[in-house]
């Protein structure tokens, strides 16, 4: 379908004010924060694919008529809400339509009896969290992108927050949801505490990255908000391996602090003011919940860390982290790294306890050898489970010209992916596949990759939804 005809048809469908093909608006709504795009934009280059238009439906019915129309006409749809994606997942397809749910920002219900809140996909997490906090509740979901991300995207990416060791990832928080399939059917998964009525259908959408439908509404569990009960402590621990062993011990002992972060010596020096003994890692702990439980958790964790010879650094490094942990969101469009001549980003993976330390070592050893212009690589574990943990690598490399930002960046990512896959880890702990990790998805899933293909085939047979994420595009 011709671009202009498409734009006009959509305007007729959902209203002229709800559709735009203005190049500046399109650029704004195509923005993704993957490191090399930030570098390119800093250099005045806009190389993201150009959509025909952006459409802002106001409710599920409008989403339904939009998708049904696009599906019937074989036009590509790229869902989007908060636009804080870092994996190329929210970039459109050339000539396609950006379906932006950010105007669906209604907070539908706070149910204090049954302990859940229902919100439309475009409700900002920060708004929701503040709203709940003022009433004594919390979602327990604190991704670093809290000031940017919205409910639809948070569910679609299978996101996780900084307090996950207590509250879990978004997959543990979603009670029910509503979504629109590409053919326009609106489906609803009801709110029940648990059921045994077949596979958990919520999970088809949690992490679907816009590839099978558009999430319009979500019900999230809520928890009591009692920050005054928090127990906080920071510890220096002499090696990353010892730190990982300590995390394992804490998790296997049954403690559930909300925050359990182990930063390597590079991050200890750079981000925590070198407060631990030189060359040490720093471990941050926050326990929360009822006062007695928070205190017992904190003391229990401290006792274990004592056994690992950890130095007690007091609560201040944690307080500092708590205040400044999301500052980066306000600086993303300042092009700080571009101004330094560098492309920089993070890349998160996960693995079992027996493999995670090896992956960390291997990446730190290989990267300086294989990335000539690398200036920094560091890592931290920020989400632990009884069976293993994640490593969130940060890296930066000098770039001579914008054309080279992407290859330099992808060369670094490749090393991290390879070392992770080699050891049976997962190549994406919480940023999703997006479009930049798709090439490794067959290896990530192995023989179960076919299930992803079949789900796509069944729900989006015309393959209009977010082409390029999760599944390799067939030639």
């Amino acid at each position: 379908m011709e671009s202009s005809a498409l734009v006009q048809a959509l305007a007729e469908l959902i209203g002229e004010d709800q559709v735009s093909s203005d190049p500046a608006v399109l650029r704004e709504c195509s923005r993704d924060y993957i490191g090399f795009r930030q570098y390119e934009r800093g250099d005045g280059k806009f190389w993201e694919p150009k959509a025909a238009c952006v459409a802002w439906p106001r409710n599920s019915v409008e989403v339904s008529s939009l998708l049904a129309f696009l599906n019937a006409n074989g036009a590509d749809a790229a869902p989007r809400t908060g636009g804080s994606c870092v994996s190329l997942g929210s970039e459109p397809v050339e000539g396609g339509v950006i379906v932006d749910g950010s105007r669906m920002n209604e907070l539908i219900e706070l149910n204090e009896k049954d302990l859940f809140v229902t919100a439309s996909c475009g409700v900002s997490l920060e708004y929701l969290e503040n709203y709940l906090n003022n009433r004594g509740w919390t979602t327990g979901h604190f991704p670093q992108s809290l000031p940017m991300a919205q409910i639809g995207g948070l569910v679609a990416t299978r996101s996780i927050g900084q307090f996950s060791t207590l509250y879990g990832g978004i997959e543990d928080m979603v009670l029910g949801l509503e979504a629109v399939l590409p053919d326009g059917r609106i489906i609803k998964i009801k709110n029940v505490p648990r059921r045994s009525a077949g596979p958990d259908l919520r999970q088809i959408f949690i992490g679907s990255e816009g590839a099978i439908g558009f999430i319009t509404q979500v019900s999230l569990k809520i928890f009591r908000y009692a920050p005054e009960n928090r127990w906080m402590g920071a510890f220096g621990i002499d090696t990353m391996h010892k730190g990982l062993d300590a995390l394992r011990e804490i998790m296997s002992a049954g403690w559930h602090p909300a925050v359990l972060r182990l930063h390597d010596p590079v991050e200890m020096e750079r981000d925590f003011g070198n407060i631990a003994p030189e060359g040490n890692c720093i471990l941050l702990v926050i326990a929360e919940g009822p006062k007695a439980l928070a205190a017992a958790t904190g003391e229990g964790v401290k006792e274990i860390l004592k056994g690992f010879g950890a130095a007690d650094l007091g609560a201040r490094p944690v307080q500092r982290w708590l205040i400044h942990r999301n500052d980066v969101c306000g600086r993303l469009d300042h092009f700080d790294y571009y101004k330094m001549g560098a492309v920089a980003d993070t890349c998160e993976i996960s693995a079992t306890w027996s493999k995670i330390g090896e992956i960390y070592d291997a990446v730190l050893e290989r990267l300086p050898q294989e990335s000539e212009s690398l200036v920094v690589v560091s890592g931290h574990s920020s989400h632990s489970y009884t069976t293993g943990t994640n490593i969130y690598f940060s890296f930066g490399a000098m770039v001579d010209k914008a054309e080279n930002a992407r290859p330099i960046y992808m060369n670094i990512v490749r090393v991290i992916m390879e070392e992770t896959l080699k050891r049976g880890g997962s190549i994406a702990h919480h940023h999703g596949s997006g479009k930049y990790r798709t090439q490794w998805m067959p290896q990530e899933h192995g023989s179960s990759y076919i299930l992803l293909e079949k789900i796509k085939e069944a729900l989006d047979p015309n393959r209009i939804m977010n082409k390029g994420v999760l599944l390799k595009i067939e030639e």
Binding site: V266, E269, R270, D271, F272, G273, N274, I275, E278, R316, P317, Q319, R320, I323, H324, K339, M340, G341, A342, L367, P368, S371, E372, S373, L374, V375, V376, V377, G396, A397, M398
Partner: protein, 254 residues
């Protein structure tokens, strides 16, 4: 040519808790906030390295020394200085705060004993610092002093110094030795060295030298002033409307 750059690793004040500001004393522990280079110092350090590069490129000998008076120089800062291209990092072993004369005395004592060259420094270390140290060093060494420097270019044994004074540029040619205080330079960040280069610098450590500093100043008192400004959003449709509203509020229209 010897190039010396004086710098100070400052507490990262943006990270300091409001409570610590409110009851600030000389002994307040700000270690948790971490240390960073002041922005003027960072410019001076990079300008020093660029000078060195240009001199070496034109076949002249050049050496860069970074010089600090502090017991608290984080290892990552000294490592990044070595990796960026400093031949030596000298750490004078004393912590002197709120005493520019004493700071200048100790730094210039070191400089007197070293081969002469260009001495660069940031115009002011941090916002709480006096900005007097570079000029005092020049006085003590009896050298010409240039303030508000934006750039320095080597020029046949001389240096072409671009200064930004009273919203105009002044270009001065001077023969080293001299002291230059770097101000709002477009050269704002110290270059990042590749990890390979950082690794190749091995375990170079700063040269720690004793410094017999005077006892810390004890008669300093800080007082937090609770001053706030009331802010109101003007419900104006245009800047002209806003101007009229402000004038009215100030009693300018009857």
């Amino acid at each position: 040519m010897e190039i010396y750059v004086c710098f100070k690793a400052l507490p990262d004040f943006e990270q300091v808790f409001p409570d610590d500001w409110n009851q600030f004393t000389l002994g307040t522990d700000l270690d948790y906030a971490g240390r960073i280079l002041g922005s003027f110092d960072e410019s001076a350090l990079e300008i020093g390295l660029r000078l060195k590069d240009k001199l070496l490129f034109s076949g002249e000998a050049a050496r860069c020394t970074a010089l600090t008076l502090s017991r608290r120089l984080p290892a990552f800062i000294s490592r990044s200085l070595f990796a960026a291209g400093f031949d030596e990092v000298v750490q004078l072993d004393a912590d002197v705060e709120f005493n520019p004369e004493e700071t200048a005395r100790l730094l210039s004592d070191f400089l007197k004993s070293a081969p002469p060259g260009m001495v660069l420094a940031g115009l002011q270390a941090g916002f709480a610092d006096s900005g007097a140290v570079p000029a005092l060093i020049a006085c003590r060494l009896g050298l010409p002093f240039f303030s508000c420097v934006e750039s320095i270019e080597p020029l046949d044994g001389m240096a072409e110094i671009k200064r930004s004074v009273d919203s105009e540029y002044r270009i001065v040619k001077a023969r080293p030795p001299f002291v230059a205080a770097v101000g709002n330079s477009p050269v704002s960040t110290l270059r990042a060295a590749t990890l390979r280069h950082q690794l190749s610098c091995g375990n170079k450590k700063p040269k720690a030298l004793p410094a017999d500093s005077a006892p810390p100043i004890s008669a300093l008192h800080f007082q937090a002033r609770d001053e706030r400004r009331e802010t109101t959003m003007l419900p104006a449709e245009s800047s002209a409307d806003a101007a009229i509203m402000i004038l009215k509020a100030l009693g300018g229209f009857s």
